[in-house]
C-alpha cells in the first residue's frame, strides 16, 4: 500500500494488476450496445503525466512506468476488476496446500510470447531471481518467506531452491518457510510486477550465477521490451512525446480488436482533461470539480465507480503537545465533531462516500455490521470530552486535565484542494465542540517527513491507496511505529495485533477466515478511532462514446481491453 498523494486528478489509466469492489456506472451499462457486430481497427490514446522511468517491472516503482510494462508483461494471477478477488491470468489454477506451506500455480496451455518463444514457469522464476539480485527493486519483501530466497540474494546459491518448475514448465511449485496468507495474491501478481521473457533477457543478465555484483538493473532491454505476453507489443518510445504499441496477435485472451495503443505524455492533469475534451485522448479520469464541464461534452460518456483509496485525519496518540489524543473518548468526540457527509458533498461534489473503519467498501473483506456510523453531534462530542475530564474554559475552549487549553495543530499537503478544504471544515467544526485547531499547509514530502513516527505532530490529513489483497498489518500493528513505518498514530491494541496476524499467518488462509479477522480489526478501529475516517472517493472516468465494451472498475480499467472496439 502506499501513502496517497492524490493531486486529486488523473490517477486514471493505471492498469493496476491488482484490484476489488462493486462498481456502479453512471448512465447505461457499458454492455448495452454489445448486440452489434464489433469492428476491428482504430487507435486508443491514453494520457500520462510523465515519461516512463523504465519499461521493466523489477525496478519499477511509479505509475508512469507501470502504465507501460503492464501492457506487455502480465502476471500469473490478477485481481478481479470489480471484486478484487484473486483470479487466474497466465495461471489457470493456483492452490495453497492445507498446511499453507506449498503454493502451486498451473499455467494455461499453449502460452506463447509475441516473438514465438513458449511461456513457461522459467520466465516467472527468472523474474523472481532478477528481483533477488536487483539493487533498485522494491519487491524483495514479496519473496522473503520462500525457501532458499536469502541464500540466492546473498549469492550463496545460484538458484532459489524453494521454487521448482515441473511438467515441462507448466507447473510452478513454491515452498515457504512459514505460512503467509497474502502470499497467494502477492506471488501471483509478482509483488505487483509483471513477468519478463527470460530467453532474451538472459542474454543481458543470466540468473544462474552466484555473482551478486551483476544484476538486471541497467540492461538495455529495460527501455526496449523484447517480447510481449500482454495485449500490446512495444513499438517505439519518443521521450516527452509518447510510447507506441501495436496489437499482439498472439495474446492469450485473443488479439485486440483495436490496432494501436498510444500512451501520450501531457504536462499535467489539466492538459489531459483538455485532450479528453478535444477527443485526442480516448479515456481519462477527471476531478469532481471538472465534472460539470466535462459532462457537457456530448462525445464523452461517464463511467463512475468506487476506488480503494480513503482520506482520514490521523491523531497522534503520543503527541507531546496534545496529550488528550491518547484518550479514546476524546478521539470519539473528534469523530462526532466533524460532518463527513457534508465534506463529501462540498469537496467531492457528492462523488464519494463516508467510511467508518479501515477496510474500504469495495473490498471483499468489507463488512460494516456492528460499526458505529459517527454522525455529527456537537452535544455528544462535548459530553464525551467532559467524561474524559476536560473542563470548559471561559473562552469557549476546553481545558485538559492538566489545565492546558485544548489547542492543537492539523497539517496537510498544500496544493491538494480537497484536503485543504477538509482542514478548513475541521477548524470550524472543532471550534463548535470547544477544540481549537491551528492549520498548517506544507508540501507532500514535508508532510511525510513530519509524520515519521514521533511526538512532534498532532493531527494530519492524508490518505491510503490500498491494494486488492487486504493486509493492514503495516498500518495498525503495534510493532510498526519505528522510523519509516506506517503506524504513525501509535495505535496499540492486543486484540487488533492478534487479528492482524491471523489475517497474515493463518492458520486459516481462506477468504472467510481472513474476512473474520479483518472485521475484528475494523470493529476495534471503529471504536478506538485512532483516525477520524472520512471518505473514499469515486472515480469519474470519461471515455469516447464510440468506444464499446469499455468497462472500467475499481481494480482495473483495461482488464478486457482485447474486446474494446470503436463504433463507426
Amino acid at each position: 500500500m502506499r501513502r496517497f498523494l492524490a493531486f486529486f486528478g488523473v490517477l486514471a489509466f493505471v492498469a493496476t494488476a491488482c484490484g476489488a469492489g462493486p462498481a456502479t456506472t453512471g448512465g447505461e451499462q457499458a454492455s448495452a450496445s454489445v448486440s452489434e457486430q464489433p469492428v476491428a481497427g482504430g487507435r486508443i490514446v491514453v494520457g500520462a503525466t510523465g515519461d516512463p522511468k523504465t519499461m521493466q517491472p523489477v525496478i519499477s516503482a511509479d505509475t508512469q512506468s507501470s502504465l507501460i510494462w503492464n501492457q506487455v508483461y502480465p502476471t500469473l494471477t490478477r485481481a478481479n476488476s470489480k471484486t478484487g478477488i484473486t483470479e487466474g491470468s497466465l495461471a489457470e489454477k493456483f492452490e495453497l496446500s492445507s498446511d499453507g506451506l506449498t503454493l502451486t500455480f498451473t499455467l494455461r496451455d499453449n502460452l506463447v510470447w509475441s516473438n514465438g518463444d513458449p511461456f513457461t514457469g522459467d520466465d516467472w522464476k527468472y523474474t523472481v531471481e532478477a528481483v533477488g539480485r536487483s539493487k533498485k527493486t522494491v519487491r524483495k519483501s514479496t519473496y522473503q518467506d520462500v525457501v532458499g530466497w536469502q541464500d540466492y540474494v546473498d549469492g550463496k546459491a545460484d538458484t532459489v531452491s524453494g521454487i521448482t518448475i515441473k511438467n515441462g514448465g507448466k507447473v510452478i511449485e513454491i515452498k515457504f518457510n512459514k505460512v503467509f496468507c497474502p502470499a497467494v495474491a502477492a506471488l501471483g501478481a509478482g509483488g505487483a510486477g509483471g513477468i519478463l521473457p527470460s530467453k532474451p533477457f538472459k542474454t543481458q543478465w543470466d540468473n544462474k550465477t552466484t555473482d551478486v555484483t551483476k544484476n538486471i538493473d541497467d540492461v538495455p532491454y529495460n527501455m526496449n521490451p523484447p517480447a510481449s505476453m500482454g495485449p500490446w507489443i512495444f513499438k517505439s518510445f519518443q521521450p516527452g512525446v509518447q510510447v507506441t504499441f501495436a496489437k499482439n496477435d498472439k495474446y492469450f485472451r485473443g488479439a485486440p480488436l483495436v490496432d494501436e495503443l498510444i500512451v501520450k505524455v501531457y504536462a499535467d492533469a489539466t492538459a489531459v482533461k483538455n485532450a479528453l475534451m478535444t477527443g485526442e485522448v480516448t479515456y481519462a479520469a477527471v476531478n469532481p470539480s471538472d465534472n460539470d464541464e466535462v459532462s457537457k461534452n456530448d462525445a464523452l460518456k461517464l463511467y463512475r465507480f468506487k476506488t480503494s483509496a480513503y482520506d482520514y485525519i490521523g491523531w497522534n496518540a503520543k503527541a507531546a503537545k496534545a496529550p488528550w489524543l491518547a484518550n479514546v473518548q476524546v478521539r470519539q468526540a473528534l469523530a462526532y465533531g466533524i460532518d463527513a457527509p457534508a465534506i463529501v458533498n462540498k469537496v467531492l461534489f457528492g462523488f464519494g462516500s463516508q467510511i467508518y473503519a479501515h477496510t474500504p467498501p469495495v473490498s471483499w473483506a468489507y463488512d460494516d455490521s456492528g460499526l458505529t456510523k459517527y454522525a455529527r453531534d456537537v452535544n455528544k462530542a462535548k459530553q464525551l470530552l467532559e467524561q474524559a475530564g476536560a473542563k470548559m474554559g471561559s473562552d469557549g475552549v476546553y481545558r485538559w486535565t492538566d489545565g492546558s487549553p485544548m489547542k492543537m495543530r492539523i497539517e496537510t499537503n498544500q496544493g491538494n484542494n480537497v484536503r485543504e478544504t477538509i482542514l478548513q471544515f475541521a477548524q470550524q467544526q472543532y471550534k463548535d465542540i470547544g477544540i481549537e485547531i491551528d492549520p498548517l499547509l506544507e508540501s507532500f514530502n514535508a508532510l511525510l517527513d513530519r509524520t515519521q513516527p514521533g511526538p512532534d505532530y498532532e493531527g494530519f490529513i492524508i490518505g491510503w491507496s490500498l491494494g486488492a489483497d487486504p493486509d493492514p498489518y503495516s498500518i495498525w500493528h503495534s510493532s510498526q511505529t519505528g522510523k519509516d513505518q506506517f503506524n504513525d498514530v501509535f495505535y496499540t491494541n492486543a486484540k487488533v495485533d492478534q487479528a492482524l496476524l491471523d489475517n497474515r499467518n493463518g492458520p486459516d488462509c481462506s477468504q472467510a477466515g481472513r474476512k473474520k479477522a479483518l472485521h475484528a480489526v475494523d470493529q476495534q478501529l471503529n471504536n478506538d478511532v485512532p483516525y477520524t475516517f472520512l471518505f473514499t472517493r469515486d472515480s469519474l472516468t470519461y471515455a469516447d462514446k464510440k468506444l464499446q465494451n469499455f468497462d472500467p472498475a475499481t481494480y482495473s480499467t483495461t482488464w478486457n481491453v482485447e474486446k474494446w472496439w470503436f463504433k463507426k
Binding site: R2, R43, K53, D218, G240, L448
Partner: protein
Amino acid sequence: MLGGQYDITPEDRIALRESLGLNDPLPVQFAKWVWNVAHLDFGNSFYYQRPVMSLILERVPNSLQISLAALIVTIAVGIPLGILAALRRGTLADHGIRVFSVGGHAIPQFWLGLMFVLTFGVQARWFPIGSMNAVGIDCGLCWDRLWHLMGPVAVISIAGIANLPRLLRTEVLEVISQDYVRTARSKGLKEQAIIAGHVLRNALIPVVTSFGTILLVFFSGSLIIERVFNWPGLGRLTFEAAVNKDYPLVQAGVVISSVLLIVSYILRDVAYAWVDPRIKVR
C-alpha cells in the same frame, strides 16, 4: 527519487548512498562532479536512470525549433514595426504600436499561453492544444508541425515584438536627424536606401545589445511555454526535473543555460562588429 516508495531496507539505503557517492566529503563530491562535467558527463538522471547528456541531446532539437522560429518572427515583425513607429510618429499606427508594446510587456507569457490553449485549442478547435504533432503523425518538416508551432511561437514572439519597436523607435528618431542622413538625402538617395543603409544600421546597436541575452531568454521563456503547450523540449525537461528533485538533470540545465548566456554574449559582440565596423578589435 524513490517514487514515494518507502519499502526500502536500511541495507538498501546504505548501498544507495554508496552508489550515489554520498559518503565522500562535499569538496570531493564537487571536484568529481566538475571533472565529469568537463568531460560532458553530467551523470545519470535519478528519475530516468539514464545519462543526463543523452536526455538533453534528445530534447535540444525540439527546443531549437521553437526558439529559432520565435527569433525569426520577432525580428521579422518587430524591426519593421519599430521603423514604422518612428517614421509615422504621432499617427494612429505609432499609437497602436505603443499600446501593443505596453500590453505585450505587461501580460505574462504563461497567461497568454493558457488563454491561447483554452480559446483557440479547447473551445474553438482552430489550433491543437499542444504537442509537436497530432497523434499518429510523426514528421519534422510538414504542415502538421507548422500548425503545432504556431501557438507557442506566437506567444513567445509577442513579448519580443513588444520590446523591439520601443527601442528602435527612439533610436531611429535620433539617427534620422543626424547630419549624415541629411547629406544622404541631399545627394538624392532614395528614402528606402537611406533607411536601410544609413539609419537602420546605426539604429541597430542598442537592439543588438538587447539581443545579448536573447538565447537565454528564449531558453527560459520556453520553460513555461513548453509546459503550457506540452512541447517536449529542454525547458519542460528541466522544469519536470526540478519538480522530481532530479538534481543531476537540474544541474545540467543550469550549466547549459549559463553556457548559452556566455555564447549569446559572444554572438552579440560579433554582431556589434557587423553592424558597426568601428567596434572591431584591432
